[in-house]
Amino acid sequence: MRWMTLSKGKINAIKSSETVIKTPFNTKMSMMRKYWMLYLLFIPCAVFLLVFNYAPMYGVILALKEFSPRLGIFSSGWADPLFVHFKEAISNPKFLSVTLNTLYISLLRIIFGFPAPIILAVLFNEVRHNVYKRTIQAIAYLPHFLSWVILAGMVKMIFAGDGMINTVIENLGLTALPFLTQGDWFIFTIVFTNIWKTIGFSTIIYMAAIAGIDQEQYQAATIDGANRWQRIKYITTPGMGIAISINLILTLSGILDAGFDQIFNLYSPVVYEQADIIDTYVYRMGVVAGNYEFSTALGLAKSFVAFILIVLTNKIITKLGGEGVW
C-alpha cells in the first residue's frame, strides 16, 4: 500500500505548501525518508557545485598563505603576517593603475553604451513597417551571439593600420588613426565595438517594456494633439522607466567588470598602460607569472567589492518596487 502513504503525504504537503512548513521534527524526518528519491535527484548537482564552485571558494585562503607548489594550497604554511598579500596587492602601484583603468573604461562603457539601446528601442518602436523592423532587429541581434575571439579577429582586421576604416580615412586625405596601438584610441575602439556588439540585443528588455504600454494612451495623446516627439517623451520613455532604472543599477553593480573577454583578445603590450584592467592583470600575474597569492588576494578584493555592490543593488531594486535578484 505504498501509494497510499505517498498520497497522504502529498495531501498534507499540499495543505501546507503555501506556508512555511512548521511540522514537528520527527514528522519532518519521516517526510525526508519518504522523499529520498527527490534528494537523490539533487545529488549530482550538489557534487558538481561543491567541486567546481565551493572548492574554489575555500581555495581563496590561498591569499592568506605562503604557497608552495610541492605542498599544495591546503598544506602550505600561513603567510606571516596573515594579510601580507593583501597589503602587497593594495600598496602595489599597479593596483591603483589597473583599478583606475577598470573604472575609467567601465564608466565610458556606461555613459555611451547604456543610453544607446534605449534610443534604439524607441526608434524600433517608431517603425511601422513590420518587415523592415523585424529584418533590422534580426541583423542587429547577430553580434551578440558571436564570441569575442571571432569579433576581435574582425576588429583587428578592420581597425588595423591598413584596415578598411583607415583606408577610407586615408582616401579622404586624412592620416590613419592608431585604433589598436595607442592608449586613448584603443579605449575608443573597445568602447565603440562593445556598443556595436551589444546595442541590438540589449533592446529586447526595453522592447518588452514598450510592449507593455497601453496602446490607448497613444491614441488618446494623438487625439489631444500630441506630436510624435511628445508621445515619445511622455508615453514611451516613462513606460520604460522601471526597466531603465533596474538595468542601470545592474550595470553599475558590474562596474568592476570592464570586459575581460574583449580586452584580453584585443590588447597588446603597447597599450597595457591604459588598457590593463583588474581581470587581465590578475590573469597575467597569476596564471602567466605564477604570482599566485598576490593575484588571489587581488581577485578576492575585487569580488568583495563586487559582492557589496550586488547586495546594495538588490536593496535598491526592491525599494524601487522591482523584484530583487533573489
Partner: protein
Amino acid sequence: MVKNIRRKLRNFTIADVIIYSVLALLTLTMIIPFMNIIAISLSDYSSVVQNKSMLIPKNIHFSAYSIIFNEEVYRSLILSAVIVVVGTALHIFVCLMAAYPLSKKYLPGRKFMLLFILITMLFSGGLIPYYFVIKALNLTNNLLVYILPGAAGAYTIVMMKNFLLQIPVSLEEAALMDGANYFYIMFRIIMPLSKPIIATLALFYGVGRWNDWFTAVLFIRDKKLYTIQNVLRDMVIESNMGAFGNVDLQQSYSTSVKMAAIVIATVPIMLVYPFLQKYFVKGIFLGSVKE
C-alpha cells in the same frame, strides 16, 4: 495591397525618413564588417594587400578555404560540436534533476538547497583558486575540462525551477496514485512538459559552450585538444601581436586564410540563428517569472 503601401507612403513624414535612415545606417555598420571579412577571404593576395577588396571580392578564388580546411581546423570543429552536444546534454540533465526537487514546496530542506545554489551565483573563488582546483583534479589537458565544470549552473536551475512550479500538481498526483515513483514522473511526465524551457536553456548554454575560448587558454596545452575558438585565436589573435597591431606583420597564415577561419567559425552560429532569435527573446522573458 498596393493601396495599403501607397497610404503608408503618404503618411511618411520627415521624421520617418530620419528614423528609417538611422536604422538603415545602423544595419549597414552590422553588415559591412561581415562583407569585408568575406570579401577578403575570397580575394587573391595582391588585391588584399592593395585594399581593393573592401566589400566585393576581387579575383575570386577559394584557395583560402581549401587551406583552412586542414586537419587541425576540421578536428577542432568536430571537437567543438561534440563538446556542445555532450556538455549541453549533461548540463540540462543535471540541472533538471536538481530543479525538480526544488519545485516541491513541501520538501523539507528545500530552502537550504535553494540557498546552496544561490550562493554560487553570488560568490566565486576567483580565477586562481579555480585554476588550482582544476589542476588538482587532473583535468588539465583533459577533454573533460570542457564539460564537467559547467555541468551544474545556478542560472539554469533557477529558471527551470520557476518553470516547473507552473506545472499543475494534479498531473503528478494522478501518477503517484497509480503507483509511479518520482524518477518515473520526472522523466516521463515532467521532462516532456518542460520541452520549451529545455530548448531555451539548452540554446543559451550551447552558445556559451560554442563560444568558450578561455577554458582552453587556461587548461589545455595540447593543441590537438583545441576547440575551434582556440584554433581561431591562435591563427588570428596570437599571431598578430605585432608592435603595430598590423595584420601583415609576422604572419604564418595569409590574411585571406585568417578571414576564412573567422567565416568558418561564424557559420554554425548562423545556421542555428533562426532558433536562437526565437528562443533567446523568449528566454529573456522567462527570467521575469518568479515564485
